[in-house]
């Protein structure tokens, strides 16, 4: 009501103010003053009278909105308290045990028995085996496994691969093995002296495609006969149990092959990086495997098997990239040139900032893929995205790490040289960059 009244009055006043009549009568000044005063008091009336505020009682304390309840799955990247404790424990192990031994393990091209024994204290093997077989796993936990991989690789990627390879085999048996296969192999993994085990998927050829394997499995009665060459097989010379991917007439399949089987031989091929994993080519020359050793029944998901392996490599890359970042920041803040820390130079600071951004991107893509895998959703696309980014950026972070340390980075006196070689492996594991 008040608004309308003021509105009409103002319209009338404005009309009057713009009229020539005022000038002719010499009344302009007076009219303008009236319009001004009325407008001001009129609006004051509106603002004070149009609304009355009533208190809804006096609560004891101000009301604030809570953070939303846990997990709507979209962009919830929090980890649970247990996962955080696991990370703390694994990282302490990586710091105390893996790091000091990394140089020697790299030089020796193998992870020492003491390190493997020390890693047993973490109980990773029990964590991969269901309770029914003496393990401690009650639910699938790819996310936790990936966090473990990341933190171990933060210590040293080579030794991390040697420690994780048996866990990968146990996880695959738990997820896809049929009742007989589980009963035969899983209890050993939940013992004080778990077997050395490893996976063999990659092959030494251009544009390797895990869906079109050159290693063949030919059916021969109640056996399969495996022929071909596998590359980048961790623990190849010492493993007691292998999971080997080979092409059957019905497409790719995975076979459980025990160490010492006739025709199975580890080649000689010292790799450039992740040497502590003892990875070598694995040569298969008419390896006869009972048909019952084909992993899983009809529900075996080869695609998921390959993609989870890919994501494990992504997690390893993230861990070692984090190690590089954690190393170069204090180094560049302390290393002085031209009278100031080199981090004061933008060329250096930008490189480190890029590293941090790329690392977070790698981590988020990988976590999203693994998170979907854990929830039983399709994660093929997400795994591919994570892999493509990790391959490119992990290598870049490795190179930049060496570059930031300059001449020091090029020597074996600083760990970035080894990290560079390890991260270089990510670019070739599971095929080339441009697959």
């Amino acid at each position: 009501m008040a608004k309308d009244a003021v509105g009409y009055a103002l319209t009338a006043l404005n009309k009057m103010a713009s009229s020539d009549l005022l000038d002719r009568l010499g009344l302009r000044k007076l009219a303008e003053r009236m319009a001004y005063t009325l407008t001001r008091t009129g609006f004051q009336v509106i603002t004070t009278s149009a609304r009355t505020f009533k208190s809804a009682g006096t609560p004891n304390r101000p009301q604030r909105l809570n953070t939303p309840g846990h997990t709507t799955d979209l962009f919830d990247l929090n980890i649970t308290d247990e996962q955080q404790m696991i990370r703390d424990s694994v990282k302490a192990f990586a710091d105390d045990v893996l790091r000091p031994r990394a140089e020697a393990a790299d030089a020796a091209s193998c992870t020492s028995e003491e390190t493997v024994a020390a890693a047993l204290e973490l109980g990773l093997n029990f964590f991969a085996v269901p309770e029914a077989f003496g393990g401690a796993a009650s639910e699938r936990s790819p996310v936790t496994t990936m966090l473990v991989a990341e933190d171990l690789a933060w210590g040293d990627m080579g030794q991390a691969v040697a420690i994780l390879a048996p866990m990968g085999v146990a996880n695959a048996l738990t997820q896809w093995g049929n009742a007989d296969q589980q009963a035969r192999y899983l209890p050993a993994f939940a013992s004080e002296n778990p077997p050395k085990a490893t996976l063999a998927v990659a092959e030494p050829r251009p544009l390797f495609d895990p869906l079109q394997l050159q290693t063949t499995a030919r059916r021969d009665g109640d056996h399969y006969v495996l022929n071909g060459t596998k590359s980048l097989v961790p623990l190849a010379a010492e493993a007691e149990l292998f999971l080997i991917a080979a092409q059957t007439d019905d497409g790719p399949a995975v076979f459980i092959v025990e160490g010492g089987t006739d025709g199975l031989r580890a080649g000689e091929d010292p790799s450039m990086g992740i040497r502590a994993s003892g990875q070598r080519p694995l040569l298969l020359d008419n390896v006869r495997v009972p048909a019952a050793q084909k992993l899983g029944d009809d529900d075996f998901d080869y695609r998921a098997f390959v993609d989870l392996g890919t994501l494990a490599w992504c997690s390893l890359a993230i861990g070692t990239s984090q190690a590089v970042l954690d190393y170069v920041i204090p180094y560049c803040n302390e290393r002085k040139a031209f009278g100031e820390p080199i981090s004061q130079r933008q060329a250096v600071a930008f490189l480190i900032a890029d590293m941090a951004i790329e690392l977070d991107a790698m981590r988020m893509l990988t976590w999203r893929a693994v998170c979907r895998a854990e929830q039983g959703k399709s994660f093929r696309r997400e795994a591919h995205l994570a892999r493509t980014l990790c391959k490119e950026k992990a290598m870049k972070i490795g190179t930049d790490g060496v570059q930031l340390l300059g001449g020091h980075g090029f020597t074996k006196e600083y760990p970035v040289e080894r990290w560079y070689r390890d991260l270089r492996a990510i670019g070739v594991a599971f095929g080339g960059l441009h697959l």
Binding site: E82, L122, G123, V148
Partner: protein
């Protein structure tokens, strides 16, 4: 036999602490917290005694904020059986904590209390001794070896110039030094099990103790930065500086 292991949540030993701008204390915003390393050694010792069959139950306890539950869970992942949190938002100080522990000792009647010799945040090195004095229990501080047998505990102590072994009748208070043991890593299965172990929360009022700080912090300052060294050109210059600047010869 029951063991009580008091622990403390402190800034992780890897963290470089910074003093707050108003000099009221150390800046704790976004700083990684962890169990005090000496407390880890105490938990480890209790767990080893349990593995030897000497101890049947390990109760871990802390006086602090709700967030200290994390450290209690860690202790349970390392092998403690259950936990008690005396929840307070007060700045905890040795005497107050010792009083709260005394109340818990009366409630739980443990045969042995093992705790770290000091916390790495304020380095007081008082709580164990105060607890022994308040409860009248014998104390063996700075332990580098602990043996329990026949209702007695023998404690090898690290003292100036050597080792001293004392024998205490139980119940007793033992504080741990660095060389007593090397704590294990919490294993994944034990971390998962820790989730299911009981954690009770009590208030200082429940225990009838007052945790109001008795000591007032006036100012916290970082230590003075060390001056960079210099190079001397000759032995004469060195001797001159030692004589006239450092005044050590």
């Amino acid at each position: 036999m029951k063991v009580l292991v008091p622990i403390k949540r402190v800034v992780d030993y890897n963290v470089k602490v910074r003093v707050k701008a108003d000099q009221s204390g150390v800046d704790l915003a976004n700083v990684k917290m962890a169990m005090n390393p000496f407390c880890e050694i105490a938990v480890e010792e209790a767990v080893r005694l349990k593995e030897k069959g000497v101890v049947t139950e390990i109760v871990v306890v802390t006086v602090g904020s709700k967030t200290a539950q994390e450290q209690l869970r860690t202790a349970m992942a390392l092998g403690a059986d259950r936990a008690i949190l005396v929840e307070t938002e007060e700045n905890t100080q040795p005497l107050g904590v010792a009083k709260a522990l005394k109340a818990l000792v009366e409630k739980e009647s443990p045969d042995l209390v093992i705790l770290g010799k000091q916390a790495i945040d304020d380095d007081n090195n008082q709580t164990g001794q105060m607890l022994a004095a308040l409860t009248g229990m014998p104390q063996g501080t700075f332990a580098s070896e602990v043996n329990v047998a026949d209702g007695k505990v023998s404690v090898t102590r690290e003292i100036d110039g050597g080792l001293q072994t004392v024998e205490l009748s139980l119940p007793a208070v033992v504080t741990t030094d660095l060389r007593l043991n090397e704590p294990r890593y919490a294993s994944l299965p034990n971390i998962m099990k820790a989730k299911k172990k009981p954690l009770d929360t009590v208030s200082p009022a429940d225990l009838g103790v007052d945790l109001t700080p008795r000591v007032k912090t006036l100012k916290v300052e970082p230590p003075a930065e060390r001056q960079a060294g210099i190079k001397v050109a000759s032995v004469e210059e060195l001797v001159d500086k030692l004589k006239n600047e450092a005044k050590v010869i």
